[in-house]
C-alpha cells in the first residue's frame, strides 16, 4: 500500500516538475519574479553587448543608409539583371520572422493550446520588431526613398493614386496593416501586466507603466472588455497574417520571370515564413531562458518539446511545397526555367541550394523526431539557427540568384552584394537591441495568462491514477 502511495506521489512530483501549468506559485511570488527579471540591474555583460550592438547598428544601419541615400544605390551591389538584391531578401526574411509571433500567439490562443501561455509575449514582440526591420529593408531598397509616401493612397491635388494593379502597392498596405494590428495585438494582453508592474514600481518606471496601463484596475468589467477585444484580435489577425505573406509572394509570382511565375508561391511563402519564424522563436526563448533571472521556471523543456514538434511539422510542410514548386515547374519544360534550375543547383552558388535543403529539411528531421533531443533547449535553438540560415538562403535563391537568369542571355551577370551586407547586419543588430531594451522595460512573461492557466489546471485522482484536468475558462 505504501509503495503505491509513494509511486503516485512520485508521478505527481514528476508531472509538476515537467509542466508549468501544474506547478503553481502564489500570485505575489510570481509577480515578484517577473518584476525582478525585468528590473534587475543589468550586468556589465549586458551593457557590453548593448554597446557593441549599438555601434554596429549605428554604423551598419544608420550611417550606411545615410551614405546610400546621399550617393545613390550605386554603393550597393544591385545591378542588371539582379535589380533586387539582399534588400528584398531581408524584407521577406524579416516578414517571415514576424509571422511566427502571431502564429504562436493567435492560432494557439484560438485553439486553446495550453503550452503557449508563458511565451506568447516573447513571440508577439518578435512580430513587431521583425516588421520594423522589414520596413527598414524595403525602404532602403527604394531609389528615391524620400518620395516613398507616393505609394500611399492619399488625397492630392493632382488626383494621383498608387497603381492598384501593382503587387507592390498591396504589399505596402498589407505590411502596414499587419504592423498596426500586430502592435495592437501585442499591447492588449500587455495591459494587465503593465498594470501589475505599475503597482510594484517607483520613480520613472511608475510613470511609464501608468501611461501604458491606461488606468487598468482589474475590475470585472475591464476584464470582460479586454477579453472580448483580445478574442476579436486573435481571430482577425490570422487571416491578416496569411494575406501578408501571400501578398509578399505576389511580388514574385505576379512577375513574368522564369522561377518566379509560380502559382504555389502564396502558401509556399506562408509556410516558409512560419518555418523561419518558429526557428527564431526558439532561439529567442533559449536566449532569454539562459540569460534572464527566473526564466527557467517559466520556460521549460516542455515548451521546447512542443515548439520542436511544430517545427518538425512545418519543416515537412515546407519540403512538400518546395517539391511541388520545383517539380511542376521542371515538368513544364520551359527552356528558361530549366536553365534556371540548372543554375540553382550547379551554378557558382549551387552550394547554397544544397545547404538550404540540408538546413531546412535534413537537420530538423534528423534531430526533432527524438523527444529527448527535442527537449534540449540548446540543441533545438541550434536547429532554429540552421533553419533561419537555410530560409535566408531560400530567399537569396529566389531573389538575386533567380534574377540572374532571364530570357536575354546577353545580360546575365552574377550579383555581388556591396553595402547591402552592413545594412543587413544592421537590421539584425537593431532587432536584437530592440529586444534587449524591451526585456528591461516590459514584462516578457504574460503573468496573468500563466496564472490563469495554473488556476484552470488541476491534478485529480481517479483510483490510483493521477489525471490532469483543465477547466473551461471562457
Amino acid at each position: 500500500m505504501a509503495d503505491h502511495k509513494n509511486h503516485a506521489e512520485h508521478a505527481e512530483a514528476h508531472l509538476r516538475e515537467k509542466h508549468l501549468m501544474l506547478d503553481p506559485l502564489p500570485r505575489g511570488k510570481m509577480n515578484e519574479m517577473v518584476m525582478e527579471s525585468m528590473t534587475e540591474k543589468p550586468t556589465w555583460k549586458f551593457w557590453l553587448v548593448f554597446a557593441v550592438l549599438s555601434v554596429i547598428t549605428a554604423y551598419g544601419l544608420f550611417y550606411s543608409w545615410g551614405v546610400m541615400i546621399a550617393e545613390g544605390l550605386g554603393v550597393a551591389g544591385v545591378n542588371r539583371p539582379a535589380y533586387w538584391g539582399i534588400f528584398l531578401v531581408n524584407t521577406v526574411f524579416w516578414i517571415g520572422i514576424s509571422h511566427a509571433g502571431t502564429f504562436i500567439s493567435a492560432i494557439l490562443r484560438v485553439f486553446k493550446a495550453e503550452f503557449r501561455r508563458p511565451f506568447t509575449r516573447a513571440a508577439e514582440l518578435m512580430t513587431t520588431f521583425g516588421l520594423v526591420q522589414a520596413g527598414f529593408s524595403i525602404f532602403m531598397h527604394m531609389g528615391r526613398v524620400w518620395l516613398s509616401y507616393w505609394l500611399m493612397p492619399y488625397p492630392n491635388q493632382r488626383m494621383l493614386w498608387p497603381n492598384f494593379h501593382s503587387p507592390l502597392s498591396w504589399d505596402l498596405l498589407a505590411i502596414t496593416t499587419y504592423l498596426l494590428s500586430s502592435t495592437m495585438y501585442l499591447f492588449l494582453p500587455l495591459i494587465p501586466d503593465v498594470a501589475m508592474a505599475r503597482d510594484r514600481s517607483t520613480g520613472w518606471r511608475k510613470t511609464f507603466y501608468k501611461v501604458l496601463a491606461l488606468g487598468f484596475r482589474g475590475t470585472e468589467g475591464e476584464w470582460t472588455h479586454l477579453r472580448n477585444a483580445m478574442n476579436i484580435f486573435a481571430f482577425a489577425i490570422i487571416p491578416v497574417m496569411f494575406s501578408v505573406h501571400t501578398i509578399v509572394s505576389w511580388d514574385f509570382a505576379a512577375a513574368m520571370r522564369p522561377g518566379w511565375n509560380s502559382t504555389i508561391f502564396g502558401p509556399y511563402f506562408v509556410v516558409g515564413a512560419l518555418h523561419s519564424g518558429m526557428g527564431a522563436v526558439i532561439i529567442v526563448l533559449a536566449v532569454i531562458r539562459s540569460t534572464m533571472k527566473h526564466m527557467k521556471y517559466f520556460i521549460r523543456a516542455e515548451h521546447f518539446d512542443a515548439i520542436g514538434k511544430l517545427m518538425l511539422i512545418i519543416s515537412m510542410t515546407w519540403a512538400y511545397f518546395f517539391f511541388n514548386d520545383y517539380m511542376v515547374q521542371w515538368y513544364g519544360g520551359d527552356k528558361w526555367t530549366k536553365q534556371l534550375f540548372h543554375f540553382h543547383e550547379a551554378g557558382p552558388l549551387g552550394w547554397m541550394w544544397f545547404a538550404m535543403l540540408i538546413f531546412n529539411v535534413a537537420i530538423p528531421w534528423a534531430i526533432l523526431w527524438n523527444p529527448k533531443w527535442r527537449s534540449t533547449p540548446w540543441l533545438v535553438a541550434v536547429v532554429g539557427i540552421f533553419i533561419n540560415i537555410g530560409m535566408w538562403f531560400e530567399r537569396y535563391i529566389i531573389v538575386p540568384i533567380s534574377l540572374t537568369i532571364n530570357r536575354m542571355p546577353f545580360t546575365w551577370r552574377l550579383y555581388e552584394p556591396g553595402i547591402e551586407i552592413p545594412l543587413g547586419i544592421g537590421t539584425l543588430t537593431f532587432f536584437i537591441l530592440l529586444y534587449m531594451a524591451a526585456s528591461k522595460l516590459i514584462p516578457l512573461i504574460p503573468v496573468w495568462e500563466v496564472q490563469e492557466g495554473q488556476m484552470a489546471h488541476e491534478l485529480k485522482k481517479f483510483g490510483r491514477e493521477t489525471v490532469v484536468t483543465v477547466s473551461e475558462l471562457e
Binding site: G143, R144, N163, M256, M408
Partner: protein
C-alpha cells in the same frame, strides 16, 4: 441585337487585345555591322549619363540601345551570330506597366508608346525586373558630366538624377517636334520626314523607323515585302513593335 464584348465601353479594360501601336521599327540584322554608332547617337540625343570606368566595369553603363552578339557552337567550330541591336520594344501589352506602384511607367494614349515618367519614379526597379527584354537602365548614382559634355545636352530631354529608371522612348521628343512642325504648316507628318537618333546615325541603314499603322510607310512596306521578320519573345504576349530581319 445582342451586345458583344466589344460594345462594352470600359476604357480601363482592354478587350480587343489589338494594341498594334502607331510607331514601329524594323531592324535588318544582316546589314548591321555592329559599329555602335546608334549607341553613341542615342546617348547624345537622350542625355544619357556616362557612368565612368568603375561602374561600367561592373556592368552599369547606361545605354538605351545595345548591340548583342553571341558565340554559337563549340570550339573550334565557333560562329558569331549576327549583331542584334536591342532596345525597348515598345510593347503593346508591356509587362513593365502594371507592376509599377507609382504609375511612373505608363502607356501613352496619343503616341501609343510606353512612357517613363521620370519625376514620378520612386525607384522600386520592379519594371526592370519584369521587362523580358532587360532594356531598362537605372541611375545608380548622380553621374557627373566632365567638360565639355554638359555643352551638348539636348534641351528637349530631361536630365535624370539618381534613383530613377529610364529607357528608350523612340525619341519621343523628335516625334513631337515633327508633329508640331506639321501642325504649324497645316499638314500631316510625312513618312521619312524625321527619324530616331539611332536610325539617323546608322551608316548601313539597318534601322528604319516609322508608322506601322500606315500601310504606305517604309516600315510597313519592309515588313510586308520581307515576310521573315521576327518579333522577340512574342510568345509572351507582349505585342512588341520592333521587327528583326535575320538571314534574308
Amino acid at each position: 441585337m445582342m451586345a458583344t464584348l466589344s460594345d462594352l465601353k470600359i476604357s480601363e479594360v482592354k478587350l480587343s487585345g489589338k494594341e498594334a501601336g502607331k510607331w514601329g521599327m524594323v531592324i535588318d540584322q544582316d546589314i548591321c555591322t555592329g559599329c555602335q554608332a546608334c549607341v553613341a547617337a542615342c546617348a547624345m540625343e537622350n542625355n544619357i549619363s556616362f557612368v565612368g570606368e568603375e561602374d561600367a566595369g561592373y556592368g552599369r553603363s547606361m545605354h538605351w540601345i545595345r548591340i548583342e552578339r553571341f558565340w554559337e557552337g563549340e570550339y573550334p567550330e565557333v560562329k558569331m551570330t549576327p549583331n542584334q541591336p536591342m532596345m525597348c520594344q515598345q510593347c503593346g501589352q508591356a509587362p513593365c506597366e502594371p507592376v509599377c506602384p507609382a504609375f511612373a511607367t505608363v502607356h501613352s494614349m496619343a503616341e501609343e508608346l510606353n512612357l517613363q515618367v521620370y519625376n514620378r519614379c520612386v525607384g522600386t526597379r520592379y519594371c526592370a525586373n519584369n521587362c523580358p527584354y532587360q532594356v531598362r537602365s537605372f541611375n545608380w548614382r548622380d553621374y557627373e558630366r566632365p567638360e565639355p559634355l554638359p555643352n551638348q545636352l539636348n534641351p528637349d530631354v530631361t536630365v535624370r538624377r539618381r534613383g530613377i529608371m529610364e529607357k528608350c522612348t523612340f525619341c519621343i521628343q523628335r516625334i513631337h517636334r515633327a508633329q508640331d512642325q506639321a501642325k504649324a504648316e497645316g499638314r500631316e507628318v510625312v513618312d521619312g520626314e524625321f527619324t530616331t537618333a539611332c536610325a539617323q546615325a546608322c551608316p548601313a541603314s539597318a534601322i528604319t523607323f516609322g508608322r506601322t499603322d500606315d500601310p504606305a510607310s517604309l516600315v510597313s512596306q519592309l515588313m510586308k515585302r520581307r515576310s521573315h521578320g521576327v518579333k522577340h519573345l512574342e510568345e509572351l504576349g507582349t505585342l512588341p513593335n520592333v521587327t528583326y530581319f535575320k538571314g534574308g
